[in-house]
Symmetry: C2
DNA sequence: GGGCTAGTTCGACATGTGTCAACATAGACG
DNA sequence: CGTCTATGTTGACACATGTCGAACTAGCCC
């Protein structure tokens, strides 16, 4: 049956919610409730200016990855930066990896491509 | 009454917030605060499941437009549907036109294309 | 070990957002 | 005119979210 309805405690931890091939283009047919729920999470993650700047900073950084210290100059406190990076990670848009003292974030290219597909004009 | 009061005065009177020349791809360079502010509005508009369903319903409807009565079966009350359609309109994603008793909404294709550009992979 | 730097988590707070019922408005139609 | 149908607006309320400072954890180096 549908397992998507009641995810146990995943939202609280750091598991990416939406991993892969999500949905058809928005203009192909009306979204179902479940599709909308899943897709909205990704759009919502990019629906905050600070998160958008962080995401753009990571995406445009050389090598497609950036240390937090490289991108944390977005006008909010450091805990807030951390909070937003976590949100982006939970939405499946970023992944993170610790290397020594620093933590590096990189974009999940498949998800980016999937979102591009969503907006394809029919 | 004047629509969207909170809009900056960049564009003409009832023009949508984000006209065509919005922003470069997210991965081209880090977004400025202003770019992020403007772009986040569009993503935010699609960051709600109900709005996403409404938008998808309009976008996939024949002729690229739909009357409210055609799309209001999304599990929320009628005032809520109206509220979300207003939000989508304020974000520049939809336009509306009254024809007789009914109000028709249609997608703003240029904005959709602009969002697609944003997500283009470098 | 002890201090130092990089990042995350916690607790609290103010603001924003989605929702509905009730009311209001706009056109069609008799 | 009055009424019916289709939408929009208002007011209220619960809940989600963005933000910060303080406390915490992880790794490096003397």
């Amino acid at each position: 049956m549908s397992n998507a309805k009641a995810l146990p405690l995943l939202e609280r931890s750091e598991a990416p919610v939406a991993a892969v091939p999500c949905c058809p283009p928005l203009s192909e047919r009306p979204f179902t409730a479940e599709e909308a729920e899943r897709t909205a999470r990704m759009f919502k993650a990019l629906g905050d200016p600070v998160r958008l700047r962080l995401f753009s900073a990571v995406a445009s950084h050389e090598g497609g990855e950036a240390c937090v210290c490289d991108i944390s100059d977005v006008g909010v406190s450091q805990p807030t930066v951390s909070h937003h990076l976590k949100k982006l990670k939970e939405a499946g848009l970023l992944t993170s990896e610790r290397r020594g003292t620093w933590v590096y974030y990189r974009v999940e290219p498949s998800v980016l491509a999937a979102m591009g597909q969503l907006l394809a004009v029919r």
